[in-house]
Symmetry: D2
Subunit: 300 residues, 4 copies
Amino acid sequence: MKELRDRKVELFRQTNKDRARLLISCKDQPGIVAAVSNFLYEYGANIVQSDQYSIDPEGGLFFMRIEFILPDLKRQEEKLEEAFAAIGNQFRMDWRFAYAYDIKKMAIFVSREDHCLMELLWQWQAGDLVADIAVVISNHPDLGPTVEQFGIPFYHITVTKDAKNEAEQKQLKLLEEYEIDVSVLARYMQILSPTFISSQPERIINIHHSFLPAFVGAKPYERAYERGVKIIGATSHYVTDDLDEGPIIEQDVLRVNHNHNAEDLKRLGRSVERSVLARAVAWHLEDRVLIHKSKTVVFN
Amino acid sequence: MKELRDRKVELFRQTNKDRARLLISCKDQPGIVAAVSNFLYEYGANIVQSDQYSIDPEGGLFFMRIEFILPDLKRQEEKLEEAFAAIGNQFRMDWRFAYAYDIKKMAIFVSREDHCLMELLWQWQAGDLVADIAVVISNHPDLGPTVEQFGIPFYHITVTKDAKNEAEQKQLKLLEEYEIDVSVLARYMQILSPTFISSQPERIINIHHSFLPAFVGAKPYERAYERGVKIIGATSHYVTDDLDEGPIIEQDVLRVNHNHNAEDLKRLGRSVERSVLARAVAWHLEDRVLIHKSKTVVFN
Amino acid sequence: MKELRDRKVELFRQTNKDRARLLISCKDQPGIVAAVSNFLYEYGANIVQSDQYSIDPEGGLFFMRIEFILPDLKRQEEKLEEAFAAIGNQFRMDWRFAYAYDIKKMAIFVSREDHCLMELLWQWQAGDLVADIAVVISNHPDLGPTVEQFGIPFYHITVTKDAKNEAEQKQLKLLEEYEIDVSVLARYMQILSPTFISSQPERIINIHHSFLPAFVGAKPYERAYERGVKIIGATSHYVTDDLDEGPIIEQDVLRVNHNHNAEDLKRLGRSVERSVLARAVAWHLEDRVLIHKSKTVVFN
Amino acid sequence: MKELRDRKVELFRQTNKDRARLLISCKDQPGIVAAVSNFLYEYGANIVQSDQYSIDPEGGLFFMRIEFILPDLKRQEEKLEEAFAAIGNQFRMDWRFAYAYDIKKMAIFVSREDHCLMELLWQWQAGDLVADIAVVISNHPDLGPTVEQFGIPFYHITVTKDAKNEAEQKQLKLLEEYEIDVSVLARYMQILSPTFISSQPERIINIHHSFLPAFVGAKPYERAYERGVKIIGATSHYVTDDLDEGPIIEQDVLRVNHNHNAEDLKRLGRSVERSVLARAVAWHLEDRVLIHKSKTVVFN
């Protein structure tokens, strides 16, 4: 069992050898691109993709993502970062190197509905989702056998109103134990506490089954049916303390009509939820998403 | 000038000779379709299109739209309606015949933004929008010359906070004078009073520049930008006393990204607003929209 | 193993108790709808959905699909069909009753790519695809274990250039043995012989990985990349002797750009192929697709 | 009349003061981005947007577009270009500076259908299409009055089979006289000769009313109807000697069904043609399109 997961991770690591991304955000000012590209050029890095975005050219904010290949990168990580620190200081940057061979460790939280979980597992198995899906955590036991077929450990942690705190402590312990980099709420039907969320900043991705900000909160399909909308949607966003108000990563929609009742909307909506969540998670894994206040910059 | 409008109406009338639609809503019960189709068969009507919808097959509601052609229809209107009344009574139907050659008289309300107005005028000129655009009313004088080029009368009625009632009285007088069947708010930036609205039930169509129920009210593009949505939209709906809460006729969306500022959203959104409003108005004109409580059944 | 499949079929049968569809195509003529709706009314059938389409109102063709519920339908099948034959003769109809509780037996043909197969199996498992997936046939052994996890028999039949005929004989024998109603080619990378196809008229559904009629034949993604298209697509159609020329059931598309190479198109296209095929198969299973010459009428 | 056009151009010029784009294509090699960004930094240019694309990181091709603002740019054009030539030579680049205040002079070719023409004129009037629409040329006189209302000269040049060459000579003379930078075929129903095309390399944009490469050539909507496609489309591309085979700039699609006949497809397709052509032309005007062999790189 465990073999399948280990083999996947090893395969991903090999495929991404020598590949990294440099992520920068800072106050916009002249000379940033020149300084950064000179730096990478001198190190012999081959720039594969480069994206930048300025909120307001004059005196605003600057965001950049550079994907590059540098032979024998793993051995040069430390040297590279030390050298880049000078540029970072000069421009007062928030910066980090993300090494693509450091496959991100992912936890998936799930309740009873399996479609979002299955899409992730399936894309992972097909090699399209480059992550180490280290653990699946659920407040119901139902999906255990399915998850274990993929060689991934499954933990059933009951969540009750009175013992929510204890449950979250167990969950956090698992995240620590498995050294989780990112948690994905794949239709996990529990609201996380502020304590939990603040311990995982910008590291929890949720799928909400509506086109936010329409239908924040519970039962969005029922409310979409009641309102008589002609299009339904799904939204993937980072989780913050404000329910369904976190920075949006991706959204998509689907046309419906008066023939569809609330059950139809649920059924049809599943395919949108699946693809929206999978895209958002993939972009996060490839370090394509930068968060700025309540919004995202997605370089895709 | 006036000639262009008159010629259009005459042309539409000829094209739609002998064509009508029968619209029915009632409690669902056995035998409706049989009774209605027998009736039309006996009159020699040729059914061109037939649509029906039951909210809940057992004991729910039933909606039907039948489009038919009946030679020499104009002379038989009265006889047909008298005869159908028996069926209507039997099934306790809300029913009406809508004769396609009775080209609907339309008023367009507009402020300063011209894109929705122009789309309607243009589709009307191309023969795609079968209406008698009888009058354009605006709270600003700017678009007068443009409208008059199309041979359509333009009225500038100033709307001020203190004299809103007087302005609405003038508007209602125009609607009466021109025997208006439907009013279209083509980005008309004034809120109509309950008195005005209740005098025009199910006869006012609005375009809202957001994907309702997201961003009800003012400045939806600015708020969409602030929220960081990845998709924007537009919604056309019937106007009721609850702002932006009336029955939705049509919606559509457009993908955007972090590169787009609020001004970009406005510019890009214009094309969605145009097409959504034009579709909704066309469906209304073709008697394809049935209203049921706060929702629509659109047979398209 | 076999239990899972049996349980699914039994469940579907119960859910669809007393439900049937009447499918009609004939020359357009007055009185059809009246006759058919009278007939169903007299039998006490409750019409759930009714769709019709006339190619040309005067002297053209008429297509109709009526979905109805009739208590204790199973015992009345024979009587109903005998009685309807009179109407069928009168209007020279092609007609058939399709009983929803007669769950259709499906064979899936697959090669090495699993995404279309998995989408079907998954929707079937979720109860969204109401079929008896009776057998999966492949020219490669790879997907056997996956299929068998779903309790579905898997047959590996090697297809070689020289022994294609023998392979097809084996396949046809399986279709007969399992009493297959419809075969789905879920990225089955072999061209079927005219003999095979003519033995399964209007019963084979294929997914082609392009937006037909663009890129008929082999390697559509590579050719889409070479041509520099900005949108790719997928097409599901009935199989006829003319390669990729059969009646189209459903198509969908996806936006791409210069950043995507042929491998990216393949990867992105998988999601479109999956959803297009699943929709087409579902519509076929619900008897929503009528074939007329080289085209389809889809009542959805 | 002429005033309107002159005022537009002056307005566009003011809005785009000090703004330019640098366009580069060359063999991919280390140090390009560093060299270019250093150069612009030293000149005090403020980079507004920067996009790059490498076909194959190792030994492939490199494309770049940098949009920047440089105070008092108009006076420094010559100096800037002379100085950049050294970098251009070093990396053997194809390069050019495109100054945004040099508003491009556009000719529109049209026949009888007005929808694509009107969309361009309208977006131009709204300030969304930044061009100097210097002349409209048609093989029919019908649209003259409409065009002249916009203050734009209209030329009717009859095109006959026998005198096509003479007609093209007249057209080319107009292009020269008005110093045209780009010609847009807005549903111009004539095939241009190789001589004409080769005199305007990469300067003629066409709209084809199908989703290319499906339905190359005449009557695409009729053929789409015959084939029974479920989605129709439109394609904007540069014109080359191979009919409908030039580099694609933009495509879009629209869902249709069996209810739509060929006339419906034409009517519905108009809205897609309009928006696809307008987007393609806007991108060309903003120097966002680089041509590489038979394909485009669109930085949008």
